[in-house]
Amino acid sequence: MTTQQEAPRRLPVPGQTAILLAAVFTMLLLQRFAWRLLDSEALRSWSTMFVAIFIQALPFLVGGVLLAATISVLLSERVLERVVPRSPLAAVPVAGLAGVALPGCECGSVPIAGSLVRRGVTPAAALTFLLAAPAINPVVLVSTAVAFPGQPRIVVARFLASLVTAVTIGWWWALRRGQLPVHAPAAGEHSHRGRAFLATVQHDFLHTAGFLVGGAAIAAAVGTFVPPTWMDSVADQAVLSIAVLGLFAVAVAMCSEADAFVAASLTSFSDTAKLAFMVVGPAVDVKLAAMQAGQFGTAFAVRFAPLTFLVALVVAGLTGWWLL
């Protein structure tokens, strides 16, 4: 045991970081060579869109992470627990609306939902909160308004559709008396507030920004390489285009703070299809399903993800038909 613990301390720079730094230096040295090698119009178009989505979303992500950390450090879940009524049917809409007050991205709301259940909040309300918080919080609504300038109806439609989706699923869960198995133990409490704040910010940022990069890369690839005629042929069909963008939202797993910008970039699609993208995305995507499987078990995730997808799609379709 002792010898094993001695070994890493002789290398003050851990291997991983050394490799990372070496890669960065190599990159800087080979930069001019790489420019010539990677000089393809398609690649440059893709990289412009990729960097653009990333850069546009980044300040919003940092803002969201800061806000979420402030609230989770200063305002404990106990405040929420006090507000939420005992009766599940009454608790569900309250939890949905509480999502407005507790901004956080998808990744943050999964552990929060788990801790709510541990502290005695009814599972249906916790699930409603899990679905509502990333979809209708102020940061998301503001970035949606920025992404769709002069189209406040889209912001309203997004708010309503997401809230209705969350409450519908919550009530369904309450009526079926569904449970929410919680496996993960409580996260270690930090004694120092400032340190807890910084740790939360850093953790949330790295957690979500990585997924943002993946989503931006895929979205930029769709924008660059998918032939516009093909996109248009799907975009023209009202029902199919909604389903396609819904599936796209599941596949790209965007952060809810950033997805409005991607939705706005899908210019050939109808506003209703874009709405479906923005309602499905924060509710269910591949990374969320993975996180839910980790937190609540695979059996839960396998049932919950398709249910959420269908409800979100139908609600978005109806809301779009009504409002847009």
């Binding site: 990372l20 653009a52 850069i55 270690g188 910084l198 957690h207 990585g210």
Partner: protein, 236 residues
């Protein structure tokens, strides 16, 4: 991802964003008002990396026993970062290795758009006095197709954009219009007749007159083409 790699990644991303905001390069990707949000968020990421490094350094200096280390390991377990965080290196790699610039003719071909008719109540303002008058491409297209007052008629017009061309030799002055970021940009183009085509992707100022006979196909009958530097803001 271990702790020091986390700090390095934060620093890289923060530095990339701040660099863009300082050098005007961000205008190739996003709107001008994004400058301060980029500076602030990039600065915060750098500060976070610095604080992180300082904390680690202090721990390293005061490391009296392995107890500390073990305690730290333990407290970290709640903050494990997924492998997806490594993807954050990708924008930095792409930025340095591919050196993305503003969108050009390749994207323009795939993202061509047509102007929509302005709302009825929007009265078309007269063009400012003095010839040649510089108008945006979208303004030119809207006025050509949808202006009952024919405000373009008889005026000398100046358009700025980059060159795209077809195989048959016809060419266009082209410009992207951006809503939010370059990923949602759409291209508009105006056919230019009467002067030889400059090379593709070259930025030009074109001076000429509106082809009044064909309002449905807005065309500029050019008298002069000048090569220019790419504008600071490539998108309209």
């Amino acid at each position: 991802m271990n702790r020091s790699s986390q700090a390095v990644v934060l620093l890289l991303v923060g530095a990339l964003v701040v660099r863009q905001a300082i050098t005007d390069e961000y205008l190739h990707f996003v709107n001008p008002w994004m400058r301060s949000p980029l500076l602030v968020s990039g600065g915060l990421l750098i500060a976070l990396a610095a604080l992180h490094a300082a904390t680690d350094w202090r721990t390293l200096l005061s490391q009296a026993a392995s107890d500390d280390e073990r305690a730290q390991d333990h407290s970290e377990r709640g903050h494990e970062v997924p492998r997806a965080a490594w993807l954050l290196v990708a924008p930095v790699l792409v930025f340095f290795l591919v050196a993305p610039a503003e969108l050009g003719s390749y994207a323009a071909e795939r993202r061509l758009s047509e102007v929509r008719e302005p709302a009825q109540y929007v009265a078309m303002r007269p063009l400012p006095p003095g010839d040649p008058v510089r108008v945006t491409l979208v303004d030119f297209l809207v006025r050509s197709e949808h202006d009952p007052g024919r405000s373009l008629a008889g005026r000398e017009i100046e358009l700025v954009g980059f060159v795209t061309s077809k195989d048959d030799g016809s060419w266009f002055v082209t410009r992207f219009v951006m809503g939010c970021c370059a990923a949602d940009a759409t291209a508009y183009r105006v056919p230019v007749e009467g002067v030889a085509a400059p090379p593709d992707e070259a930025w030009v100022e074109v001076i000429g007159r509106w082809d009044e006979g064909r309002p449905a196909r807005p065309t500029l009958k050019a008298t002069l083409v000048r090569r220019t530097e790419p504008p600071r803001r490539p998108y309209e």
